[in-house]
């Protein structure tokens, strides 16, 4: 079969992937810079293409709770939003983590706090990777750095969400969401039939039949001993996710004396900075986390004996840098370089920071 290539925005690629992956329902609310997701979906008439339901909800609060209902009945459901809207969804994500429900949530991050700016940012790292809502939980967090990954991480997201019965967040940003790139489109997958849902997801509320006990989806345990056992079960799941699902990319790390650690748009900028520095004979590599939770500790630690310094490049005041510091301890200096407010750092200023901090001292 011929490879299907298209030039698409990141947000559009995400939406097309939803249809192609056999998603059952999208529930969303408009917010810049991700409104193209729902606009694309409504224009594409997925109800006719695959039977997929698309609904514009009255709020992000309603959207995420629609995901709860849909996921609890065994369906593949998704939403997308940007930072302020994602904040509104945190209660629902916490409930879904507690009730062990799968879903994919796209956050096309913009600058904050508050209404902030509509320009790209990575300032939601803490919120995404440390739970975000109340209680002890994590969502699996995937960080695309290309339009192709905006497409690919939909399928990967559902694979992980259903394998572990947990929310998955795709943590993108305004640049990846808005820019256009070449995308390789996958084949159309069938949505699961109701019969397949009943047999694949025996926990789902699909109507109590005589052959089984009733299914209850809840995050409530009034007995604290029962709640603690549930917490322990969740934590065991997170340890398994950390062991088995950590993903990252290492670029020119083999001989690196210095390391960039950067994800998403920052990783693309660092790639150019890396070329600038390498052309000056500075041996620097890039570790690009693909999963932000679980954080790819071993990808950094395997170079630790060789490297003299690590720089976390983020479009924030420095959030992922704390995870790097926790990973390497005091063995090497770990610095942060970042821009805020929706400003992208230039490759030159990132390279200059490295030279200034580590080379020209």
């Amino acid at each position: 079969m011929a490879i299907e290539l298209r030039l698409m925005k990141g947000n559009e690629a995400f939406a097309e992937a939803a249809i192609r992956t056999g998603v059952d329902g999208y529930f969303g609310y408009p917010i810049t810079p991700q409104s193209e997701v729902m606009e694309y979906l409504t224009a594409e008439k997925p109800q006719e293409r695959t039977g997929m339901v698309v609904l514009q909800a009255e709020s992000e609060v309603a959207s995420i709770n629609m995901l709860y209902g849909g996921a609890a009945s065994g369906k593949k459901v998704m939403t997308s939003s940007s930072s302020p809207g994602i904040s509104l969804m945190q209660e629902g994500i916490s409930y879904m983590a507690g009730a062990e429900l799968p879903c994919v949530v796209l956050n096309v991050v913009r600058g904050g706090p508050g209404l902030g700016t509509i320009q790209p940012s990575q300032a939601d790292y803490f919120q995404a990777t440390k739970g975000g809502g109340h209680g002890d939980y994590h969502s699996i967090v995937l960080a695309p750095s290309s339009v192709q990954e905006m497409y690919d991480f939909v399928e990967l997201g559902y694979e992980l969400a259903f394998k572990y019965r947990t929310p998955v967040m795709v943590l993108s940003d305004g640049a990846i969401g808005q820019m256009m790139e070449k995308v390789q489109i996958g084949d159309q997958k069938q949505r699961l039939s109701d019969h397949e849902i009943v047999s694949n997801y025996p926990w789902a509320t699909t109507g109590k039949t005589p052959d089984r006990e009733r299914n209850i989806i809840t995050s409530l345990n009034l007995d604290s001993a029962v709640q603690e056992r549930h917490n322990q079960k969740l934590q065991k799941k997170y340890r398994q996710i950390e062991d088995e699902e950590t993903r990252s990319e290492e670029i020119q790390c083999e001989d690196a004396e210095y390391l960039f650690v950067a994800y998403g748009t920052s990783a693309r900028i660092c790639l150019k900075s890396l070329q600038l520095l390498r052309s000056k004979g500075i041996r620097i590599g890039l570790v690009r986390p693909i999963t932000l939770y679980p954080f790819p500790k071993s990808a950094i630690l395997r170079h630790i004996e060789r490297v003299k310094g690590i720089v976390s490049v983020e479009m924030s005041a420095g959030q992922m840098v704390e995870d790097i510091q926790l990973t390497v301890g005091c063995r090497v200096p770990v610095l942060h370089f970042g821009r805020m407010g929706g400003i992208l750092p230039s490759p030159g200023e990132v390279a200059e920071f490295i030279e200034h901090q580590f080379i020209k001292v």
């Binding site: 609890a72 809840t218 409530l220």
Partner: protein, 263 residues
């Protein structure tokens, strides 16, 4: 003189006049003695049972006294965040249009924190049924003022009575919902007497039957008591409900066949 009947003669299938539906689990209710929730649960489950819908029904109960409804209703159930049941139900029904879907919500849940979800699900004409238990108070958290608390009514956060200037007016959300074109059947019932229970059950049945016809939202309010929250005996609470709640929340049909009932 009548002969003395033996126990075996009394417990005889021929004498059976009532049997608990198997859709009520038998778990001891967590509700206070005298509360209307138990009766409301029973009539809904009886209707689901009588219509043979157990294997097709998904119930949703959010935060409030009835958060544990899934302990008592022998059907597949989802527990929702406070106020969000209509959002869950929207997705469940749209993704499973062949299922019977209902929410079971209290007045704080439905008419305060969940107002947006209630109004918009109704306005979209979502094809599920809302059972709305209105006792004018937050029962689970210990009797605080609800949006439905009557003027002058005492609660733990209106210890001197609800004062309209400070705390606003009680909200007739059922009348509000009935104004929306997405609702097809809106009624207000009670479960404090055998007659009221029979009428309420008929209303539940009407709502569930209409849901099978995809006509839009069906909405059954049940005005109930909260003897614990109201600090009354069950008998006093029922009387107080008749004397004070009913004048402001009068039982009866509000919208039938998509048309407002002319009073």
């Amino acid at each position: 003189m009548a002969e003395t009947l033996t126990k075996a003669e009394i417990i005889n299938p021929a004498n059976l006049v009532y049997k608990k539906t198997s859709l009520i689990t038998g778990k001891v209710l967590s509700y206070c003695p005298g509360c209307g929730h138990g009766t409301a649960h029973r009539i809904i489950m009886e209707v689901i049972d009588e219509m043979g819908l157990q294997s097709k029904t998904i119930g949703i109960a959010p935060v409030g006294c009835s958060v544990l409804a899934y302990d008592f209703m022998n059907i597949d159930m989802q527990q929702a965040a406070h106020g969000r049941a209509p959002a869950l139900a929207t997705a469940v029904k749209r993704l499973h249009p062949d299922k019977t879907v209902f929410t079971y919500q209290g007045d704080g849940d439905l008419a305060a924190i969940g107002t947006a979800e209630t109004i918009h699900a109704a306005n979209r004409g979502e094809n599920f049924t809302i059972f709305f238990i209105n006792n004018g108070i937050y029962g689970m958290t210990g009797g605080q003022m609800a949006p439905t608390t009557l003027e002058g009514m005492k609660s733990s956060t209106t210890p001197y009575g609800r004062e309209q200037k400070l705390m606003g007016h009680p909200l007739k959300i059922t009348e509000l919902v009935a104004q929306l074109p997405g609702t097809y059947y809106v009624t207000r019932q009670a479960v404090h007497t055998p007659v009221a229970v029979r009428k309420a059950k008929k209303a539940v049945r009407t709502a569930i039957e209409l849901q099978q016809k995809n006509v839009g939202m069906t909405f059954v309010e049940i005005v109930s008591n909260c003897n614990s929250g109201w600090k009354m005996t069950p008998v006093q609470a029922n009387q107080w409900m008749v004397d004070h709640m009913f004048p402001f929340y009068p039982p009866g049909d509000i919208k039938i066949d998509g048309k407002l009932v002319q009073k």
